[in-house]
Amino acid sequence: MKKEHLPNSLPRPPDEFEALKRAWARPKGWRFFTAVNNTTIGMLYVGTALLFFVLAGILALIMRTQLAVPNNDLVGYQTYNQLFTMHGTIMMFLFAVPVIEALGVYLLPGMIAARDLPFPRLGAYAYWAYAIGGLIFFGTLFFNAAPDGGWFMYPPLTGSEYTPSNSADWWLLGIGFIEISAIAGAIELIVGILRTRAPGMSLGKMPIYAWAMLVVGGMIVFGFPPVILATLLMELERAFDWPFFIAAKGGDPVLWQHLFWLFGHPEVYIIFLPAAGMVSMMLPVMCRTPIVGYRWVVGALVGVGVLSFGLWAHHMFTTGMPHLSATLFSAASMAVAIPTGIQIFAWIATLWRGKMQREGPSWFLLAFIGVFTLGGLTGIMLAVVPFNWQVHDTHFVVAHLHYVLIGGMVFPLFAALYYWAPLVSGRKLSEAMARWGCGLMFVGLNVAFFPMHITGMLGMPRRVHTYAEGLGWEDLNMVSTVGAYVFAAGVLVVLADLALHLRLGGKVDANVWGAGTLEWLPLDSYGSRSIPQVRGRDPLWDHPALAREVDSGQHYLPGTATGGRETIVTSPIDARAQYLLVVPGPSWLPLIAGAGTAAFFLLLTVKMVAAAIIGGMVALAAMLKWMWQTDRGVTHPPVDIGGGITLPVYASGPVSHSWWAMVVLMVVDATVFASLVFSYCYLGTNAADTWPPAGVNLPGLAWPAAAALAWLASSALFGLARRRLDSPAVFRAALLAAIALMLAAFGTDLYGQWQAGLRADDHAYGAIVYTVLAWQGFHVAVLFVMAAYTLARSWCGLLDATRRVTFDNTRLFWHYMAGQGIAGIVLVHALPRWLG
């Protein structure tokens, strides 16, 4: 390969730029809804998330008004309990997580100089499922049908005995599509960050925000599965009386708490780390100096991500857990202060080293440091076990969590709105409104929430719709209410600023803060005109001419090589260019699939099963249709992207971005399964009597042995098919036989339990065993569809020894599932024999 030097100052062909613009043109009119490009979807996503922030904020104002005076009857307990449940649920699931993913969708491709995310349609699908589902979920409030069991949904209160209406189902199924949407977003972000960075942007040169989002992607992959399983178990209990959480039938309500907080605590850091990443991007620019301690900060992000999975039980110190266990969780909780401290001192040192510009983002960043530090300190107080016994579940915790979340997430988010708005409209927002907005929010937050520390210590529990007079709580509550309105006024000022001054532009060329990272290159729908060779962490600071060079097409891929939308796929660590990914363009399919998914979950909630199934089928059909258009094979000879680099336009195996997405998805799957294994062991080891309970017979060993052998054989057949891709008849026969063996494996395992007399609704034992089987059954159905799809591709001549990504993905998942199937068999058949 000949080496050419970049920038390449030869004149560009005259129609090259026009072709690039045409390929990336934003769809107009009604076809706006077909847009999949990251900037369009990102804007919609941020806007929708902010809408939910406002809606949930209004709920909070109603609650604060109710609590302003004792014995108030502005809203009754029924409304109040729905209000706080929805406020928490919406803020966490419909605002905080989506908005961080939304900003990632909007900002990351620019920051790593990719033209788009690797799976634009997946991103659009995730958005539509979230927007449609979320709005309908919110609408339940107007029908007095919203969930009222708290965002933490502790059973047995939320079980069918104490919540017979379907309000709890709204929560469980409503959260279902948020989970799907979050996982889809995480896959998109992880693969995007690891595989579509500009050539030369090795991990060590990656912007800190990308690091933060990479860690967060990983945390979603490991953090969401426990709550996916928890919601599944609770819905099975509510719908079919499978007693996982009912003590009288061998269940345990504390199992829910473990699963919920296994998700719930990482969730807090899933929200905070992206914000911290943004701070580490904005602060150095506002201070005109690189961040102090880049490596330390990156290490701290990873450290927080890892530690956050070891703290969940500090939400459960009052459940009567042994003091020794509590102490271990307490120490782990305190340990988070160290990576957090590293970041705070890195930011302060950056403030010292640079000269802070006295403009919009800076005010929000300073407010963030103060408010978040106080929230962190009260967090340490809560990690102190005896102190926690007092303040747990009081207004002290309400104060703490709002300091952490508003301080740690909302202030950085608002700083980000001021900092990155010029990327959209080419100019800054109003400085005067930034100061008013930030000032009102800062004062309002402290007036509203600081007194709550004291209200809590004076004995006021959380989640009370009113309170008795004479206990010393009246004045503090009144002050809190006033503060809440002041805070809301500040938010309103910022939103008004956005409404007045944010204009959607076409091409934007305005590095208004003099930043060093690549999202400040001149950008349009196609990203930057050409894709730069990256040589440092702050390319625009290191090489001031870069923006002009890139914009005049002097770096990689200055046009479209295949005539379609493309982005460069690079190696995950050192970002060497590997192949050219042709990304899909506008389509109705993501919207249809998203609407179908939302309809499936929501109609299921109101028990309109037939209609729900139709929605699900629509979603599935749309997804299959859009997938059918992918895996196009070698449509084009290798293309020259400039700089002496020629790239193929198709890749399979571990080089393929699709392979990476599949692996991430399998990790999600394995983590759900691990949560299921945890649940089985938890119920088994905490069982009051024997496990399995008296009177239950395990099936004979022949059943599991036969099932395991069938799984192995089925998996082996896929290994055979892999080697015979070039002879379709053998290949198809192998796949058909593999399907048959898989069905036999599952059927044998299932029938073995049934014929032994086990039933799911008698006891938690049967319930969890059948859940392991149901989880396998769900995968058998998925694998069936995947195998049929793969066979269809083969019959249509769309699959051969080269064009094989579809098959490779099915094969990977098949092998994984054989492993999971056998692991499930060992769990269910060997463990009780060993325990017994």
Binding site: Y162, P253, V292, W296, L377, V385, F387, L458
Partner: protein
């Protein structure tokens, strides 16, 4: 009833609560210092002229060494306090408290059976009592901030807490785990009495209800037995032996009606009986429509007389 700060962890009434309060003061002061330090450093850096910084000193010193030392010391202190407060269960429980939606059933083990009451505990000053905590329905949490931290009541388990008071007095507690509709009105009182008074009180509680002293009270008792009251309530010494609602054998001596909704006295009792669904919607007690005004007054007076 005059209440004041009787539900406050900042006004400890026991050695245990005082230990946590002392720990708290260290936490407030230490956190305040760290907050002031961090904010001062940030503001100084933000508004002063740029200067060279020593990366390692800031990050290793401020971000690692400083929190590690402070937190290690804090952890040792916290373990010490936690250990002191969570000794092994000394003996069989003195009191059983069962959480119900939305009130507390309180049972004392006495020589001749059980003294059962509701929403109120009495304890002898200076003598730690072991309380067994369980629930009849959903998760509740037993919390008297002035006397001890909270402990959850979880279906399928029995948790324990030790409660003690240094001085005679009245302390208020409240359910701390969200338990549904009337979670806000699930309060109770702990009354600390000198040992002799406590014994005398417990003996009275264990005894059956007194016979009505006059015709008016008798009319009240007749109303109680005639209406549906006895289906849910017990008055020991009468035919009423229901178990769904609170035991009313000595209801007249209690500090509140409806777990904190109303104070004591015949008027409060009458108001509650007339329309419990208005005062505390969703509780299990139906309104009583069939009583005449005079019967209602007699019934309330009878119950009030059950000291």
């Amino acid at each position: 009833m005059k209440q004041g700060r009787i539900q406050s962890m900042l006004d400890p009434g026991s050695a245990a609560a005082a230990l946590i309060h002392e720990l708290g003061i260290w936490l407030y002061a230490g956190s305040g210092l760290v907050l002031v330090l961090v904010v001062a450093l940030a503001l100084y850096g933000a508004f002063s002229a740029p200067r060279k910084v020593a990366e390692k000193a800031w990050i290793v010193g401020g971000g690692i060494v400083f929190p590690a030392i402070v937190l290690a010391a804090l952890l040792v202190y916290a373990i010490h306090v936690g250990h002191a407060l969570s000794g092994p269960p000394a003996r069989a429980a003195d009191i059983e408290v069962v959480g119900k939606r939305w009130w507390w059933e309180v049972r004392y083990a006495t020589g001749g059976g059980h003294a059962v009451l509701a929403n109120e505990l009495r304890i002898p000053v200076g003598k730690p009592l072991e309380i067994a905590l369980s629930t009849d329905d959903v998760i509740h949490s037993f919390w008297v901030p002035a006397l001890a931290g909270k402990v959850d009541m979880i279906p399928g388990r029995t948790n324990r807490i030790v409660v003690e008071a240094r001085e005679p007095g009245i302390y208020r507690g409240q359910c701390a785990e969200f338990c549904g509709a009337q979670h806000a009105w699930m309060a109770f009182y702990v009354v600390a009495l000198p040992e002799e008074e406590f014994r005398a009180w417990l003996a009275r509680q264990a005894a059956p209800a007194a016979e009505p002293a006059d015709a008016f009270l008798l009319r009240g008792r007749d109303a109680f037995l005639r209406e549906a009251c006895a289906a849910c309530h017990t008055i020991r010494g009468t035919a009423a032996a229901g178990t769904l609602g609170p035991d009313l054998t000595h209801v007249g001596g209690r500090l509140s009606i409806g777990a904190g909704v109303l104070g004591s006295g015949a008027a409060a009792l009458a108001a509650w009986i007339a329309d419990p669904q208005h005062l505390k919607p969703g509780n299990l007690m139906p309104e009583t429509k069939t009583l005449t005004g005079e019967d209602l007054r007699a019934l309330a007076s009878y119950l009030e007389s059950l000291k």
